[in-house]
């Protein structure tokens, strides 16, 4: 259980002691553009699937064909090396995501929630944070777990149903997976309000999905965050479906549009565009750190796989739609950009080999996992158990002791 982490986390983004993501350096239309993107490419006129009829602009810095796009407010802030690191985590996360689905199909995991297709949204966002900034994940953030240097086995332990969490939330500045849809938004806002009270310059990134925005308590969280100017970035990974319900049947007002009603900026970004997600979240982080309050970022992405291994997407969406979004795969797009910026075949081959080795090692460690005692349930919720809980624990222990083979 304490096997060493079998992979080397890639560091992207500001380091621990680094300065704020510089607000002043966010270029304007006539401001400077970092030379990682060639600025001489014409703006594409081709509408993207996420440019919907609601008239909200989608920020894009790299289009589906990996052509750089100019934007009046945002510009890319990642160096080639940083993109390589980000891509590596995205790639390895996807490799393990596939292994997760397979292990579930082999009876080794109770459930798996595939993240395939959402890697750029996750890595672009978390790379804009300092390692000391707090993250509250939903339950699909395998790539973020890996970015923070946690052993990905932790996610598999949860999905095997033997524990609620294995990592030290405070030490890693990474919350436990939230299976109560949207509950993490309230925790994140509370944490953010605490940061303000402490006078610290940390921020909180909280992950939620389009489906979670239909939950009542998410509205409460957004309202509190705005009222108290909590330094919180709400990252809505809009993957177009709440299980099988398409967004068109979930809400009339998009999450980005609703932010204004709560009194905070809402920005929609191409969630499969690593550069755009990073730039938009970085700007939101700067605002939060400067005491200007929360931002909602709606990352338009697509869950390429099923909601979880328990559903069959072919029953609620068309192949044509999957093809359209498949062509916008964030890994393919980032790989194309990397190749155009001098990344050789060897890099990708090494990464593929590392991914296979990582998956093989992880598989072996998952198969070797031992179930934890059920009485662990009583250990972690309350610092001092209540009388009723202590009694219940005794009953369960006595019951288990009465069984043979234990």
């Amino acid at each position: 259980m304490t096997a060493p982490n079998a992979w080397t986390p890639r560091i992207v983004g500001p380091d621990n002691q680094g300065p704020d993501v510089p607000t002043a350096d966010v270029p304007t239309a006539d401001g400077p553009t970092l030379d990682v993107l060639t600025p001489d490419v014409a703006t594409s006129e081709v509408p993207t699937p996420d440019e919907q009829a609601d008239g909200i602009e989608t920020v894009q810095l790299l289009d589906a064909e990996a052509h750089p796009q100019r934007h009046a407010t945002y510009s890319p802030q990642l160096s080639v090396d940083e993109v390589r690191h980000a891509y590596a985590t995205m790639f390895l996360a996807r490799r393990l995501d596939t292994e997760g689905t397979n292990l579930q199909r082999q009876g080794q995991l109770a459930l798996w929630a595939p993240a395939k297709g959402q890697e750029a949204a996750q890595i672009g966002a978390i790379a804009a944070l300092r390692p000391t900034d707090m993250v509250y994940p939903s339950y699909r953030e395998l790539a973020m777990v890996m970015h923070r240097g946690l052993d990905p086995l932790a996610v598999f332990q949860i999905m095997r149903g033997i524990t609620h969490a294995t990592w030290d939330v405070e030490a890693h500045r990474f919350g436990v997976f939230a299976f109560v849809v949207g509950a993490q938004t309230l925790q994140a806002v509370g944490y953010g309000m605490g940061i303000t009270l402490d006078g610290a310059d940390e921020v909180v990134l909280v992950c939620l999905g389009d489906g979670a925005t239909s939950e009542g308590h998410v509205s409460e969280a957004l309202n509190f965050a705005a009222v108290y100017k909590a330094p919180v970035i709400f990252l809505v990974q809009n993957n177009q479906y709440a299980i099988s319900v398409p967004t068109a049947q979930q809400f009339r007002g998009a999450p980005a549009a609703r932010a204004g009603g709560f009194g905070m900026p809402g920005v929609r970004v191409d969630g499969n565009d690593l550069f755009a997600v990073h730039a938009v979240v970085a700007e939101a982080v700067s605002r939060a750190r400067a005491g200007e309050g929360p931002t909602l970022v709606e990352a338009m992405t697509y869950r390429i796989g099923a909601h979880t291994t328990a559903d069959d997407p072919t029953r609620y969406r068309s192949r044509e739609e999957e093809d359209v979004w498949g062509a916008r795969d964030p890994l393919v797009r980032t790989e194309r950009w990397l190749r155009e910026h001098g990344t050789e075949d060897g890099f990708f081959a090494d990464l593929a080999a590392e991914g296979d080795a990582l998956a093989t090692d992880l598989r072996a460690r998952v198969l070797a996992l031992e179930p934890q005692g059920i009485t662990d349930l009583y250990e972690y919720v309350l610092a001092e158990p209540s009388a009723a809980l202590a009694e219940e624990r005794e009953q369960v222990t006595a019951y288990l002791a009465g069984l043979e083979g234990r």
Partner: protein, 426 residues
């Protein structure tokens, strides 16, 4: 060398059984970890299962079409690992709990469903709780037989468990089954299993049942039929088959019947309508989306060719081939199966002449096409053998009157009797 068994996991949340749809490997095939080996259908989805073992496939243990409980061994793989080197955690699992003796060596800790939980309940140490102890679960020793032998037994109505095995390693051989069938005198094996079987109505069966009840008890059906001499259509079809442009597509009478239906629907748009009860309106459609009832391994489905009227005969043939293939493989998407405005059902493939088809809910008409056979037919006062079929049309009498339905059916019949009349009717 160790023989590993891959047991059916719970691939959903709390599923207890699944049906084997198709095997993707054969006995003797080399497989790697995570290679897809079998396609199964559960109440929720059709999924391919990836093999947890690398090695050589020793046996496929469940026949296609069979529904088995979670925990049933699906496939055995010779993994080429010497038995002594069984990983520690497997050995532990075996020594720790005798109740798990039948469990797979790569014990699945989760996804075991309610039944499995009952079977693996640990016995109690004390006597006072004996009432709560589950009755000892005596697993039926599975009769050993190759899939082909199992199929033979099923076809001959022989209960495998009743056959004395004489094959290698106590397996039932083909000869054993034939001998047993002879002893049973053919049908007696079938009769021996007299009684009732209760089949849960789920999936496509339930969807079909619901659609049929909805249609039959809301739309007043009228059915008309007519026999048609389709000799000239058959001759045209033969000519088309020899033409270069149709060389690569499957040309069937259905293609030409579909074309005839499109032409007739254009002339009789009442049949290409739907009933809007809420708004007290008839919705007449200017586009024709033709549905084709298809008998697939998953049951009755009705894949749809959208905008069939805008297609050339060639395009229609291509679309029809693709559509039926996808449907037979059980891979039709929701878009493939929705939006139909009129349905054709070909009952001729079952050797049947006519019937009274039930409307697809929301549609005004459905045409059943009977088998096309040579029948005696009167031509200019002489009886001649001609290619004849029976067309049966059901329509929703709320929207379509007898005169309109008759005109529509008459148009189709006329086009099939004389394909040249298309030039007159369009």
């Amino acid at each position: 060398m160790a023989l590993q068994h891959y047991r059916l996991p719970d691939v959903g949340e709390g599923l207890t059984e699944a049906t084997v749809m198709s095997w993707l490997v054969a006995e003797g095939d080399q497989v790697a970890v995570n290679d897809p080996v079998v396609e199964i259908e559960t109440a929720k989805s059709v999924v391919e299962l990836p093999c947890p073992y690398a090695g050589v496939v020793a046996a496929l243990l469940v026949d296609v079409g069979k529904t088995v409980e979670v925990g049933t061994a699906l496939i055995s793989v010779e993994d080429g690992v010497a038995a002594e080197t069984v990983p520690a955690e497997e050995a532990d699992a075996q020594s720790e709990a005798p109740a798990h003796a039948a469990a797979p060596s790569q014990a699945t800790l989760v996804g075991t469903g309610p039944r499995e939980l009952k079977a693996t309940r640990l016995p109690r140490k004390t006597a006072e709780n004996t009432l709560l102890v589950a009755p000892p679960h005596e697993a039926d020793p599975r009769t050993l037989a190759k899939p082909s032998v199992r199929k033979l037994a099923r076809d001959l109505g022989v209960d495998l468990a009743s056959v004395t095995p004489t094959g290698p390693d106590g397996t039932v051989s083909q000869d054993d089954v034939t001998a047993a069938a002879t002893q049973q005198g053919g049908w007696t094996g079938f009769l021996a299993e007299r009684g009732e079987t209760r089949i849960d109505v789920t999936g496509i069966r339930r969807a079909t049942a619901r659609a049929m009840v909805e249609s039959a008890f809301t739309a007043p059906h009228v059915t008309e039929w007519t026999d048609v001499d389709v000799t000239r259509t058959m001759e045209l079809l033969e000519r088309m088959k020899t033409m270069r442009m149709f060389r690569d597509v499957r040309m069937t009478p259905t293609v030409l019947i579909a074309r005839a239906v499109c032409v007739a629907l254009r002339r009789n748009p009442e049949l290409n309508s739907s009933w809007d009860e809420k708004n007290s309106q008839i919705v007449r459609k200017s586009y024709i989306n033709l549905g084709f009832a298809a008998d697939t391994p998953r049951g009755l489905v009705v894949p749809v060719i959208h905008d069939a009227d805008a297609m050339s005969t060639y395009d229609l043939a291509v679309a029809l081939t693709a559509l039926t293939q996808t449907a037979r493989q059980g891979k039709s998407s929701p878009a493939d199966l929705s939006g139909g405005t009129f349905t054709i059902t070909n009952i001729g493939v079952f050797g049947i002449d006519a019937g009274t088809p039930i409307l697809t809910p929301g549609q005004a008409g459905i045409l059943a096409v009977g088998q096309i056979t040579k029948r005696p037919w009167v031509v200019e006062d002489r009886v001649e053998p001609r290619w004849v079929t029976t067309l049966a049309l059901s329509f929703d009498h709320r929207m379509v009157d007898g005169a309109e339905g008759s005109a529509f059916l008459g148009d189709i019949a006329e086009i099939l009797r004389d394909p040249g009349s298309t030039l007159i009717l369009t």
